[in-house]
């Protein structure tokens, strides 16, 4: 039995926040840990693409990225996930992240994208480096990402 969709947009609002950018789309994320920050980023991307509550957790996909800097890890992970959606047509509802040295192994739980069942929110062309932030502060981990839409 696929998991019944229960998430709502208000639940997404606790995971990330969209901010105003004239031409494009920006998000801000905070998380208690580094791994959770990347997990929330993965979920945020799904929520920007479709109404995430409509996605059932039927299949799993793995994505791995490796980079020296956390900034590059964030950029490369979100780019890989965008490709997973645009090339393979896979959309996810949840994710889990395993941190191994300078790499991330991310497991996505979702299903093949079906425009009839998954209301589409808008095309994202790319993950930009513009004002990209990934940092650890006394209040926890924080990131800021601008997408080209």
């Amino acid at each position: 039995m696929p998991t019944r969709p229960t998430t709502t947009q208000s639940e997404d609002a606790t995971l990330f926040r969209e901010f105003e950018h004239t031409g494009d789309l920006g998000i801000e994320l905070t998380a208690p840990t580094r791994g959770e920050l990347f997990r929330r980023a993965a979920i945020a991307l799904a929520a920007l693409l479709v109404e995430r509550a409509s996605v059932a957790e039927i299949e799993r996909r793995e994505v791995a990225v490796e980079a020296e800097a956390d900034l590059d890890l964030m950029h490369d992970l979100l780019t890989e996930l965008l490709v997973l959606f645009t090339v393979e047509g896979f959309i996810w509802r949840d994710a889990s992240v395993k941190e191994v040295d300078r790499s991330l192994r991310v497991t996505l739980r979702g299903e093949p994208f079906d425009p009839a069942r998954h209301p589409f929110r808008g095309e994202i062309k790319a993950v930009t480096y513009h004002q990209l932030v990934v940092e650890n502060s006394p209040d926890g981990w924080r990131s800021r990402v601008i997408f080209d839409v």
Binding site: T22, V87, P115, G122, V127
Partner: protein, 478 residues
């Protein structure tokens, strides 16, 4: 931001800090007040730090906050000493606009607008993924497209020779190397030839509702009441991935060339470096895909017209007026100071606008200057302009590219909440077919500046002149 007024439509950002040249912004006093605190002006100053930049870091009146470069920015760098910045072209390589004219008068189409809008919506794939316009292409065929651009469309029955003559660069940018496009980029673009995409891309059926220069309008075959088609799209996933692939490479290579820039998204390497050469050859290949894409869509639009209106190709007389790109980097000769210099002009949300007599223009257009196509928002109007001689001296032969956003997408959606935008647009005489409600909300007319004001600034500065105004009556969106 410190701004010096040079005249009523031109402002200078003085050269300070790491800037290698001053910035110059084309705008009227009202626009300048509106953009004074906008990050876009800081971005104009950041672009002025690119090694090899000559003249000025330029901004057109439709400037707004981009990533790295401002949208509406122009930067020319010395072709030998300068750098190439993928961010100065953008993810949508050769995003552009093409205008086709018909032999139809608005009065004859008016009773059938719904049928026509449906036919266009059903024929030209738009929105997410949007695929299936023409049979899926193999990697080998996609490489042919990347090598030949609109010429591939000609070989495959989607174009005629005249279409190519009326396309910037003949629809094929020299120096393209399809082998420098990644397999992933080909995968992203494999089913997308002849598709519109989403965001601000659209197909608009309009009528000519104002002629400003009847001599030039005649030369372009435009007359009052005539039905025209404007298509705004680019290189789709293939271009997005190509930019991303090379940006990633160049961000990491930049340190090797000791280039330091205020924003990572501006990442640049010398034009003469292996990375720079590879990017330019891949960019040209993606640009060619975009020209072929718009050409195939124009062909599909013609089929939709024929089917919806039950007329013959001769009665329709669907002909390309011109096709321009507004996200590109190109090698061109320009006067810099007192000298002619080969420069690489980055146009990020800016349109080439060569003046009369330029050898790059086809013979038929040379006496009048290059047509410049400026889409507005979907509720108001779009413009056809021509390039003037001053553009060659002041802006590296460049003009504006559109209305420019006024509201963020979020704000537009908030403003649209609870409103029936389709009905509002209908009241303005515009029939909209779109895949998503958000797509209409983000692109609603008031999210944009008034494009008339933008083109008036360019006219006051004698960069481009208005030829005709187009009033949309049917719009297809993703």
């Amino acid at each position: 931001m410190d701004l010096i007024k040079l005249n009523d439509h031109l402002w200078e950002i003085p050269q300070t800090g790491a800037m290698l040249v001053p910035g110059r912004v084309y705008a009227n006093a009202r626009m300048i007040e509106e953009m004074r605190d906008d990050p876009a002006l800081t971005q104009v100053a950041n672009v002025a730090c690119l090694p090899g930049i000559v003249g000025y870091s330029l901004a057109m009146p439709d400037i707004h906050w981009g990533y790295g470069f401002p949208i509406g920015g122009v930067a020319a760098v010395d072709a030998r000493e300068g750098v190439i910045s993928p961010g100065g072209v953008g993810y949508d390589i050769n995003c552009g606009v093409r205008l086709a004219r018909t032999n139809l008068h608005f009065n004859s189409v008016e009773p059938k607008i719904d049928r026509l809008a449906d036919a266009l919506f059903n024929t030209i794939p738009a929105g997410v993924g949007s695929w299936g316009a023409i049979p899926g292409l193999s990697i080998g065929q996609l490489k042919d497209v990347a090598r030949e651009g609109a010429r591939w469309a000609l070989r495959n029955g989607y174009a005629n020779e005249r279409d190519l003559e009326h396309t910037e660069e003949g629809g094929m940018l020299a120096g393209a190397d399809p082998d420098l496009i990644s397999e992933r980029a080909y995968q992203r673009g494999s089913k997308q030839l002849g598709t519109l995409g989403s965001g601000n891309h659209f197909l608009e059926v309009s009528r000519v509702d104002e002629i400003y220069d009847s001599k030039v309008a005649d030369a372009l075959g435009l007359e009052l009441g005539q039905v025209t088609v404007l298509i705004h799209s680019g290189s789709r996933g293939l271009g997005h991935q190509t930019c991303d692939d090379y940006l990633k490479l160049i961000v990491r290579a930049m340190a090797r060339y000791e280039i330091k820039l205020p924003d990572r998204q501006l990442a640049a390497v010398p034009i003469s470096s292996p990375e720079g050469k590879a990017y330019l050859a891949a960019m040209a290949a993606a640009a060619n895909f975009a020209w072929c894409n718009r050409q195939v869509m124009m062909h599909l639009a013609e089929q939709a017209f024929l089917q919806a209106l039950s007329i013959t190709p001769k009665e329709l007389s669907f002909e390309l007026v011109y096709d321009v790109c507004h996200n590109i980097a190109k090698f061109e000769e320009h006067s810099v100071g007192r000298h002619q210099q080969l420069v690489c002009v980055h146009r990020k949300g800016a349109t080439r606008a060569f003046g009369p007599g330029h050898p790059a223009l086809p013979e038929a257009l040379r006496p009048i200057g290059q047509p410049v196509l400026i889409p507005g928002d979907m509720g108001r109007y779009s413009f056809v302009l021509v390039g003037l001689e001053t553009a060659m001296r002041e802006t590296f032969g460049s003009s504006c590219h559109g209305a420019g956003r006024l509201m963020s997408r979020m704000k537009a959606k908030r403003e649209a909440a609870g409103r029936d935008l389709r009905a509002e647009l209908n009241a303005l005489g515009v029939t909209v077919r779109a895949h998503t409600r958000a797509g209409i909300a983000e692109e609603m007319p008031h999210a944009y500046k008034d494009v008339a004001e933008v083109v008036q600034v360019m006219e006051a500065a004698r960069i481009t002149r208005r030829v005709a105004r187009l009033k949309p009556f049917a719009v297809i969106k993703g």
